[in-house]
């Protein structure tokens, strides 16, 4: 029996055989081919080669259009490398003259050059070896097909263990057979994690290197409540987990029967529990779980799913789809929050090229430098607002000037629409995410210029503690309970109260029941959480009084290390809600 610890991203317990997805180390099926098929083998290589060039070209276009030409240039350089005549001729001659299989030839030639790069004594060039391995992978994937096709032909329940799953791979998992997954990479806030929650299958990510000696077929337990993965459990462990799997199910059923009841504290204050969504369709799921609104509609998937930039009509249709079922329900649309860290797999090379992507051109900064893109989205939001209760929210605002600039562009767009006679709503509330420490520190000033605040705890914590949660070497330093984070939250909520504007917490912190009492005690009255967590958070609220929450928050603020805050809050939750399975 072996136990691995990672980050729990989707609750529940599940037991099933393991299906291990290769870590992209392609197994080359044969090294040599017979002389009479050499021509067709060369043709097969050329075809794969052309496909890969097309793929990189496509990456270049998307990167240039969405992030700017300097990012596109990175792929332009990759393309130039891929198209190198010398490489191509060398590979072809190995196939023709030595009867190497195309896969073997590609691997041999590219790995050879990678070694040359690594030995040139230049740090930068040594790192460029990665680009050659990347090219090798692209070519092999093209010729061998993706081993991940296995995922579409499942016939019995499995747990997926993988190095990494992309959001699109996660979204495509067949829920009738995939009962849970665990990955080496990833963090709480990765899109994969968020999607796991939406699929309602237990998931643990960020486990670090654990796949190396798992062959597949072993019995595995994924404990999405505690972030544990157990390989080959012994009989006693298995029995214990079967029990908790059953308990978890029954608690879930009970919560689900109460979804439509309001979240009212024991001293009769109603708390708004809203849903965070990525895809328009998730609005139905949120409503089913009892959401009183959509507190965060992330619009990045409009940009990431297709190959070309979404048109105003694409935006408009998506937004209408979200508001149409419930025109009265508040829906907060966050403008583009894209950065180098959220790119699709084939464009991952970009983030390697950019130092400090989290401090770079992303989110609102990207929108402000790319006005046509920004205006297209704003036009669509304003038009869709005619059909529902829409609020606009700007992400990653770090200075007042940025906010004013964004608001000015919004006014420009309104003027354009007015001039063109296009129907739109003028009095759409405009708010901002408070997720950069500078904005938290200036909360009083900001509060005078917006209609609402929404606290994005993921980024706020990352920037306050200077920790990238997706980096397994430092992920343990990331904590929602850090006293510095609590102080910033208190500051933001007080500023909002003084200016009489509402404040929502929409980060991952609000989806974790241990923080519910703290947030309510600090004065937060709106939480926006992962849809499937809504019933649980509402139930936690129903067990609390505001007085009690205030005293819990006051005590938490006196503690000086994150660990103490977390264990105190966990202890309090157990006291006021002993039945909640943690």
């Amino acid at each position: 029996m072996r136990i691995f610890r990672g980050i729990a991203v989707s609750r529940g317990v599940t037991i099933a055989p393991a299906l291990v997805l290769g870590s992209e180390n392609f197994r080359i099926p044969q090294r040599f081919v017979s002389v009479d098929v050499v021509d067709t083998e060369v043709a097969r290589f050329q075809e794969a080669f052309d496909q890969v060039c097309l793929e990189i070209e496509q990456n270049e276009k998307v990167a240039s259009a969405q992030l700017g030409n300097q990012y596109g240039a990175i792929f332009a350089a990759h393309l130039q490398l891929a198209r190198d005549k010398k490489l191509r001729l060398e590979i072809e001659s190995l196939i023709r003259e030595k009867c190497h299989s195309p896969e073997y030839a590609v691997s041999k030639v590219l790995r050879n050059y990678a070694k040359v790069f690594q030995n040139l004594g230049d740090q930068y060039l040594a790192e460029r070896a990665v680009d050659l391995y990347d090219l090798e992978k692209r070519l092999l994937r093209q010729m061998l097909g993706d081993r991940r096709e296995e995922l579409t032909n499942l016939t019995q329940p499995v747990l997926i263990l993988a190095h990494n799953l992309t959001p699109s791979e996660t979204a495509a998992l067949d829920r009738s057979f995939v009962k849970g997954f665990a990955t080496e990479l990833g963090g709480h806030t990765s899109h994969t994690a968020i999607l796991a929650g939406a699929l309602e299958i237990p998931a643990v990510v960020g486990l670090g290197d654990f796949l190396s000696d798992i062959a597949g077929g072993e019995t595995v337990i994924i404990d999405g409540n505690h972030g544990e993965v157990i390989i080959d459990p012994d009989e006693a462990t298995l029995e214990r987990y079967r029990q908790s799997e059953a308990e978890f199910r029954s608690m879930h059923k009970r919560l689900e029967s109460q979804t439509q009841l309001p979240a009212v504290t024991t001293d009769s204050l109603e708390i708004q529990v809203q849903g965070n969504i990525e895809f328009p369709e998730e609005v139905d799921q949120s409503v089913k779980y009892g959401a009183t609104g959509i507190g965060l509609y992330r619009t990045e998937f409009l940009y990431l799913s297709g190959e070309k930039e979404p048109t105003e009509e694409d935006h408009y249709q998506a937004y209408r789809r979200v508001v149409a079922p419930n025109p009265e329900m508040p829906v907060t649309i966050r403008t583009l929050d894209l950065g180098a860290d959220k790119l699709p797999k084939s464009m991952r090379a970009l983030s390697r090229e950019i130092d400090n992507p989290f401090l770079g051109l992303r989110s609102l900064r990207l929108s402000l430098q790319n006005l046509p893109l920004f205006k297209t989205q704003l036009r669509a939001i304003l038009r869709a607002a005619v059909h529902g209760n829409i609020r606009i929210m700007f992400p990653l605002v770090s200075t007042l000037l940025e906010l004013r600039q964004a608001k000015m562009i919004l006014s420009d767009v309104m003027e354009d629409l007015e001039y063109q006679g296009v129907p739109f709503r003028r009095d759409v509330p405009v708010g901002m995410m408070v997720e950069v420490p500078s904005a938290a520190l200036m909360a009083d000033e900001f509060a005078r210029e917006v209609d609402f605040f929404s606290i994005g705890t993921n980024d706020l914590i990352q920037y306050t503690l200077a920790v990238d949660r997706a980096n397994t070497q430092v992920a343990h330093l990331f904590s929602s309970g850090d006293p510095s984070v609590l102080k910033l939250l208190e500051r933001i909520v007080s500023a909002a109260r003084r200016a009489s504007i509402p404040v929502t917490v929409c980060g991952q912190m609000s989806s974790d029941p241990i923080y519910s009492a703290l947030l309510l005690g600090l004065g937060v009255r709106q939480l926006s959480v992962t849809p499937h967590i809504i019933p649980e958070i509402k139930e936690v609220v129903r067990h609390l009084s505001i007085t009690q929450a205030e005293s819990i928050a006051a005590h938490a603020l006196t503690l000086d290390v994150a660990r103490d805050v977390e264990s105190y809050l966990r202890g309090e939750l157990k006291k006021f809600f002993p039945d909640l399975m943690m």
């Binding site: 240039a73 990175i74 332009a76 350089a77 990759h78 130039q80 490398l81 190198d84 005549k85 010398k86 490489l87 050059y113 040359v116 790069f117 040139l120 004594g121 230049d122 930068y124 060039l125 460029r128 680009d131």
Partner: protein, 90 residues
């Protein structure tokens, strides 16, 4: 008539030397000419300026002096374009 050919000396002015971006631009430019274009370090083996991978293996840092050699009907034009590119510091 002899095949036109010539050489010129250039200095790498790019801050990071001939890395991905600059190498890609050199290769692209060289490919636009029919003539053969090579680059070499002082006394070193010449590499094909049309091959990005060759250019990268030069590992030329900022300040490196390189010799451009062109041989073929549009050699003169190729040389002047190359010199121009290097002078611009890309």
């Amino acid at each position: 008539m002899d095949t036109p050919q010539g050489t010129c000396e250039v200095t790498v002015r790019n801050d990071n030397g001939l890395h991905m971006g600059p190498s890609s631009k050199i290769a692209q430019l060289a490919q636009s000419f029919r003539c053969e274009v090579t680059l070499s370090r002082n006394g070193g083996e010449p590499v094909d300026a049309k091959s990005m991978i060759d250019l990268l293996t030069l590992a030329a840092e900022k300040g490196t002096v390189l010799i451009v050699q062109a041989r073929g009907e549009d050699a003169e034009e190729a040389l002047s374009s190359m010199c121009h590119l290097f002078e611009s510091g890309f």
